[in-house]
């Protein structure tokens, strides 16, 4: 399973995300879960696979994002099942008192308290829960030990719920372009000039949707060296009947004063609101800021990463082949290791990505709506759990 993920050189974060989600879904459905602590077993299994997937392709952040989303889903489903079970259980516990012997400690705890305590173990630490200790999470599974009939039905239910939720996740990934494109009409107005760099499927769907709604606007496409994917985008836009102008990346600063809005896609969005985007994006963002042009980033929610960029230029960048820049035949004498002093004088560096700091971004449009960069932490709190930031299988605590 993992080798498949490693070998397949899938381009594009959406396809990668979808593959990862489907892979994890099959892992979950094949995983045999014990009766107690089923969520823990599932989480361990997913973490094991996830660790390998992330290690195989660390630059593709969507893999890690989906692994963490699935882990969060497992925890949430487990929690909602537990809360429901306790609710039922306390109704029955009133009648049979021998169940109370299992539970150590405060038997006077009401159902509301236990549920509140269980709820607090899932949520990220907050000021509210600061003074509470990690409470009766040990006692909670014990309550389920009474009633053998509940047990098996619960185990099946957990896997079932998790798989349903993962299916929803896959559905979201697949339809993210449509959901983002629905918002196009609110942002693109009549007779506007839009600038974009390179080619992004999200951006093209966004622009087509606006065109469908009979907005007439013009697009400046910066070609996006060294891959020149802007050329492809320009062709697509013309095929749809949009007035397009193709410019080089270096001409962006010259042309930006005539532009109303910059709309670009992203490779990944970091937790502080910073954007990992194809190389050259930082230049466009700076030019846009200089001329007070709104810089809008489109990103599906699978691109939202809960990590912070410590050293983005180094850590999260992929160096591509220099052949995209130079034709080896012409420059073979400069780049030859054999001749002269051993190491060549000419180095060719071809980074694939660029980091745009959050203060340069005006708006993020995700499938969950349009947001400020400083709002990203909210989406992250919704989609991810704090425990999953480091995907490692049961690291030994305390060193």
């Amino acid at each position: 399973m993992v080798a498949h993920g490693r070998q397949c050189k899938i381009e594009g974060s959406q396809a990668t995300a979808r593959q990862t989600a489907e892979l994890l879904r099959s892992v979950i459905s094949q995983q045999r879960v014990p009766y107690t602590n089923q969520a823990g077993a599932l989480i361990d299994a997913v973490k094991a696979v996830g660790e390998q997937l992330i290690a195989a392709n660390p630059v593709e952040l969507a893999v890690g994002n989906i692994v963490r989303r699935v882990l969060h889903i497992i925890r949430e489903e487990d929690l909602s099942l537990t809360t429901a079970a306790i609710g039922e259980l306390n109704l029955s516990a009133v009648s049979d008192d021998e169940n109370d012997d299992d539970r150590d400690g405060n038997t006077t705890l009401s159902a509301a308290a236990v549920a509140a305590a269980a709820r607090s173990t899932l949520r990220p630490p907050s000021l509210q829960t600061l003074l509470e200790d990690t409470p009766v999470s040990a006692a909670v599974p014990q309550t389920s030990s009474s009633g053998a009939a509940d047990k098996s039905s619960r185990s099946r239910k957990l896997k079932h719920d998790v798989i349903e939720a993962v299916n929803e996740l896959i559905q979201d990934i697949v339809t993210c372009h449509e959901q983002i494109a629905e918002q196009a009409v609110e942002h693109i107005h009549q007779n506007e000039v839009i600038l974009t760099l390179g080619s992004s499927r999200t951006v093209s769907e966004f622009l087509f949707a606006a065109k469908e709604k009979k907005r007439s606007f013009r697009v400046f496409v910066a070609e996006g060296a060294p891959r020149y994917q802007g050329h492809l985008l320009a062709k697509e836009l013309v095929a749809r009947g949009l007035q397009t102008t193709l410019i080089t990346d270096s001409a962006v600063f010259a042309m930006i004063s005539r532009v109303n809005m910059v709309i670009v896609g992203a490779h990944a969005v970091m937790a502080n609101g910073g954007v990992i985007a194809p190389v050259g994006m930082n230049l466009v963002a700076l030019a846009a800021q200089k001329h007070a042009v709104p810089f809008v980033v489109l990103a599906g929610s699978h691109k939202l990463c809960p990590l912070y960029p410590h050293n983005p230029e180094v850590l999260l960048n992929e160096l591509r082949s220099p052949s995209e820049l130079l034709d080896f035949g012409e420059f073979s004498d400069c780049m030859d290791f054999g001749s002269g002093s051993g190491s060549p004088l000419l180095h060719v560096v071809n980074p694939a990505f660029d980091y745009v700091p959050p203060k340069l971004v005006s708006l993020f449009i995700t499938d969950a709506g349009g947001h400020n960069p400083s709002y990203m932490y909210r989406l992250i709190a919704d989609y991810y759990s704090a425990d999953d930031l480091v995907v490692q299988r049961r690291a030994i605590a305390g060193n």
């Binding site: 009401s110 509140a116 907050s126 000021l127 600061l130 003074l131 912070y308 410590h310 909210r378």
Partner: protein
């Protein structure tokens, strides 16, 4: 008339109380005795006197001169006397127990955070109380918490700690326990555990910040923050190669103490005078500061000089990281530097200053959130905009 802030009305009131008092001190000529300017006049409103909070911090971390020491002792005896009077007024008749004494005892320990001392003092209140119901206990706690807060109005973590504990008590009593004694013992136990929580918080913050310190970086530090010390200690233990530039931190000179501690850890340290920050800022990779309090806008209140450093760092595009525990989040929203209660601290210039020369003695300043990059707290790594969210969740 020199003040241009919106809160000039507040200043005007304070000035009215200052001037008559000054005329009293001028009549006995102050020849040799005092090298420090404006003596805290016993007639002044307590708010204008030395901030006990900054006094304690200086005692812990600063370099102490002998006449400052004499002055502080005089102030301390005065404060305890008035504190004792307050307790008698508070209706705890016939008991020697005073929450303020208790608080002071805890606070003296240099490793203990302010909020922890406050919560321990409140735990002692619970232990010594004779209340039979939760409502009674809550009322006693509220009184004790109010007296603590009013005794030292300048300490933000004290206020925040008291508020946090009061919220916890209210929530616990409402929800969970039918039995009063078990509730009470649980409250006491949680309060005692808070010290551990605080200590653990520092460890969590240190772990979170490790990734941000890369090999070969230069860190600028201002003031002596125990949390930042923990961060740097852990980085040194993890064998990271980094260098620290440390400001002197006048008038406390707490930077000297910090430099001392870092030298013991074999971390290369360079001391700067406070004015040399802009000069060295381009060789700095990041700025690390602690916080006395984190306010609702996401800005921080910290030792005087922090705002200056943040401004310089921001203008040169250097990240400013703040390490603060979550119990320092306070429900304040200062609009400008003078919008907080004054926290004054005497400054020893080493030479006598003529008494008609005013001295700016405020011990702290407010750094607005736009100059801060990230906050490292035990709740995680946060951007400044998250702070108000957390506070709303707590107080809603």
């Amino acid at each position: 008339m020199w003040h241009r802030s919106a809160s000039f009305i507040l200043d005007k009131n304070q000035n009215d109380t200052v001037y008559p008092a000054d005329s009293v001190t001028l009549t006995p000529p102050p020849p040799s005795s005092i090298s420090t300017p404006q003596n805290p006049n016993p007639n002044l409103n307590r708010n204008m006197s030395m901030s006990a909070y900054y006094q304690t911090r200086a005692a812990h971390h600063g370099v102490v001169t002998s006449d400052w020491l004499a002055q502080s002792q005089e102030a301390a005896t005065r404060a305890v006397v008035t504190g004792g009077q307050e307790i008698v007024d508070g209706g705890k008749s016939g008991r020697a127990f005073s929450v303020i004494d208790e608080f002071n005892n805890w606070r003296k320990q240099p490793d203990l955070a302010e909020a922890v001392a406050a919560i321990r003092a409140l735990a002692a209140v619970i232990r010594n109380s004779e209340a039979k119901t939760m409502m009674e206990l809550e009322i006693e706690l509220k009184k004790a918490s109010d007296s603590l807060k009013s005794w030292d109005t300048t300490s933000i973590s004290l206020t925040a700690g008291c508020d946090l504990f009061m919220r916890y008590v209210t929530r616990t009593s409402a929800l969970e326990y039918e039995d009063f004694n078990s509730a009470r013992s649980r409250l006491i136990e949680r309060a005692e555990k808070f010290g551990e929580i605080s200590y653990k918080a520092r460890k969590i913050i240190a772990m979170l910040s490790q990734d941000f310190i890369f090999d070969g970086c230069t860190i600028l530090v201002h003031g002596f923050s125990r949390v930042v010390m923990e961060v740097l200690k852990m980085a040194a233990q993890n064998k990271k190669l980094f260098r620290v530039l440390c400001t002197e931190g006048r008038p406390d000179r707490s930077g000297l103490r910090l430099a001392n501690e870092l030298a013991k850890l074999d971390v290369p340290v360079k001391l700067l005078i406070d004015s040399a920050v802009a000069y060295t800022m381009d060789e700095v990779d990041m700025v690390f500061v602690g916080a006395d309090g984190v306010v609702e806008s996401g800005g921080i209140i910290n030792m005087m000089g922090t705002y200056q450093i943040a401004l310089v760092a921001h203008s040169m595009n250097k990240p400013v990281y703040v390490a603060a525990e979550s119990y320092k989040f306070a429900r304040l929203y200062p609009l400008d530097q003078k919008d907080m209660g004054p926290a004054l601290r005497p400054i020893d210039f080493g030479v006598p200053i003529p008494s008609k020369v005013e001295v700016e003695t405020s011990a702290r300043d407010y750094t607005p959130p736009q100059y801060l990059t990230l906050l490292f707290t035990d709740l995680g790594v946060l951007t400044p905009s998250v702070v108000s969210d957390e506070l709303i969740q707590l107080y809603l």
